[in-house]
């Protein structure tokens, strides 16, 4: 299995694509952060007992007044910026990935139903999708968050409400073309019921294009969540994501205490950049039309 992968065309192209390698290297680094982040720092930034106000607003270690315990400096509560980032990345990535999975489930289901049955069901689902697309996704998310209130679960619901459309449209399109194919007719002749035809025959054949959509979406979800948190309607203060860290630092940004918000910002940028680089490579590789 691994031998066939290493000699596959996919891997061959990957090896020769610098941005794909850079993208996956960044993603790998962030995977390590998400899985093992707390091991790199002594301090748990959410344990009040480990905080000391005497450590507040220490600059990064290479500046004058830096403290070796806080590589990237500290914030107003004496919380290490690096520690905050490592814990915050977990929250950001967790929200991005879970919201992507939920959007994918909802969108794929609706897209399959719309494409398979057509008619009024299709018209209804797709018109809702059109309406959804005619509003900026930030606006919808903002509206929903101010209606529901803050909280990770609310953020997930808001992101799913924004994100399902792209899956529904992609899946509906592929379903329409798959249903025309004779293997679906063959499944009917074999006596399968609709549900089984959809699950066994249509679904596996419409998933490939979703990989690209899903990858890129994680990046955009992380950004939307950051924006929501920055505006104060995202995650609660007890579980700060990267976006909330930026917001917290933003208040003191112009007092010369730049590190508290610039470093989380750089991390978000690197993360989304890596995701997009890898997503572009996947798009080129998995798109049969470009082959």
């Amino acid at each position: 299995m691994s031998a066939t992968f290493l000699s596959s065309e996919f891997f061959h192209n990957y090896k020769r694509n610098l941005s794909a390698i850079a993208g996956s290297a960044i993603l790998l680094a962030f995977t390590v952060i998400v899985l093992a982040g707390p091991l790199f720092v002594a301090q748990n930034p959410y344990d009040v007992a480990q905080l000391d106000l005497l450590d507040s607003y220490k600059p990064p270690v290479w500046l004058e007044g830096g403290d070796a315990r806080f590589l990237l400096g500290t914030d107003g509560q004496g919380r290490g910026v690096l520690a905050g980032i490592l814990y915050g990345t977990r929250v950001s990535v967790m929200i991005g990935v879970s919201a992507m999975v939920m959007s994918c489930l909802v969108g794929t289901t609706l897209g399959l139903l719309a494409g398979f049955y057509g008619g009024r069901l299709d018209a209804a689902i797709m018109r809702i999708a059109d309406i959804q697309l005619s509003f900026p996704s930030m606006l919808i998310a903002l509206f929903l968050m101010s209606a529901f209130g803050t909280g990770i679960d609310k953020v997930l619901i808001a992101l799913t409400a924004v994100g399902w459309v792209v899956y529904a449209r992609t899946v509906r399109g592929s379903t329409l073309s798959e249903v025309q194919k004779e293997y679906v007719q063959a499944a009917r002749v074999a006596g399968l019921r609709d549900g089984k035809i959809i699950r066994r025959h249509v679904l596996p054949n419409v998933l490939t294009p979703l990989i690209v959509v899903a990858t890129v979406q994680v990046g955009s979800f992380i950004l939307i969540e950051a924006s929501l948190s920055f505006l104060g309607v995202g995650v609660p203060i007890t579980e700060p994501s990267l976006g909330l860290l930026i917001k917290n630092g933003f208040d003191v940004l112009f007092s010369g205490l730049w590190w508290t918000s610039v470093f989380p910002g750089l991390f978000i940028m690197a993360l989304v950049f890596g995701i997009n680089l890898f997503g572009d490579f996947l798009r080129d590789e998995l798109n049969p039309r470009l082959k």
Binding site: E182, Y183, A187, G191, P204
Partner: protein, 340 residues
């Protein structure tokens, strides 16, 4: 004894025009959603006896594939009856169709699109049979039968775990045949089963189908546009044009004494490597009219070199001309108008 398949006055129309938004029209001060209907099949009747091969020929858009897929109940007919073994299945739902599926199976045209690319060959072949069998004990038997079928259609049973893309076009068509055979059907509907294949492979598949027919006593409804192929495989041939059956006859009679001008034109248009055959030259001008807007009277009159006044006003029905031949043409009543 009842016929394997008996089709009476089969009709099929399709709605076109897309979604409600596409169809929206504002006429006479009211919002309307008119839909246009294509008459794909216009009252086709025929029967197939056990072990018989009936071929339907015609050009694209003549409705031959729609007839096949409607009989296989991929589509629900809009009119007429379809009897399998005497049982009318034209209104059956998915559940009621299941036992019928064990009597009737189908082979498809496109060896690439007719097999799910994500299924293993053994799962593809076993699928119809698994729907028919309940309970785990039968699984083992299904697996054994699948391998036997693959061997019977000339495939290496060691390849049962492979995916369709690892096979050539001819081999895929064999997989499709094995799938159809899995439930021991009495009737197989074959929709252009060899037209996507190279000629040397086409001969292999035709031979296999003929062997299986002898071995299992199969009846075929064989759809094709290729007269040479049809002549080889069919006992009886029906010629379709614009959703109508215009002539049916036993094979040899249709080739030696075709009556309908369209049949004659088809026969004279088919290219052949034998230049010796004396040919009646009936050349057609123009192209098939749209099925959205059928001509009045005889459907063929717009291209028929022999059409006359009556063809415009009266639609000819199939009538017996002896020897098992039926023709839908006014020339049968007025033979003096024919070129002889």
């Amino acid at each position: 004894m009842t016929a394997m398949l008996q089709v009476d006055d089969l009709r099929q129309e399709f709605r076109i025009g897309g979604s409600m938004l596409d169809r929206m029209r504002f006429t006479d001060g009211r919002l309307r959603f008119p839909d246009r209907r294509v008459q794909a099949v216009n009252g086709v009747s025929f029967a197939i006896e056990r072990g018989e091969v009936l071929a339907l020929v015609g050009e694209s858009g003549c409705g031959k594939s729609t007839v096949a897929k409607t009989i296989a109940r991929i589509y629900r007919p809009s009119g007429g009856s379809i009897r399998i073994d005497g049982e009318d299945i034209s209104r059956h739902g998915v559940r009621e169709m299941l036992p019928v599926r064990a009597k009737m199976q189908m082979i498809f045209q496109d060896p690439f699109a007719s097999l799910n690319p994500r299924q293993r060959v053994r799962d593809i072949v076993a699928e119809p049979l698994l729907e028919q069998t309940k309970g785990r004990a039968a699984r083992r038997e299904v697996a054994d039968k699948t391998l036997a079928l693959l061997a019977r259609v000339g495939l290496n049973t060691e390849h049962a775990g492979r995916y369709p893309h690892q096979f050539s076009g001819g081999q895929r068509q064999r997989i499709g045949i094995a799938r159809a055979l899995s439930v021991n059907p009495g009737l197989i509907i074959a929709d252009e089963p060899v037209s996507a294949l190279d000629v040397s492979i086409q001969a292999q598949i035709l031979n296999l189908m003929m062997d299986l027919r002898d071995e299992f006593g199969l009846a075929y409804l064989f759809i094709s546009h290729d007269l040479a192929v049809v002549h080889h495989i069919a006992d009886r041939i029906g010629v379709m044009y614009l959703g109508f059956l215009v002539e049916t006859a036993p094979r040899d009679r249709l080739f030696s004494a075709p009556r309908h001008p369209y049949t004659r034109a088809l026969l004279s248009a088919a290219p052949s490597i034998e230049k010796t055959r004396p040919r009646e030259e009936i050349e057609l001008s123009g192209e098939v009219p749209s099925a959205l807007d059928l001509p009045s009277g005889c459907c063929f009159r717009t291209r028929c070199p022999l059409a006359f006044e009556r063809c415009k006003v009266e639609r000819p029905t199939l009538r017996d001309t002896g020897g098992g031949q039926q023709v839908a043409c006014h020339l049968v009543d007025e033979p003096e108008r024919d070129i002889q």
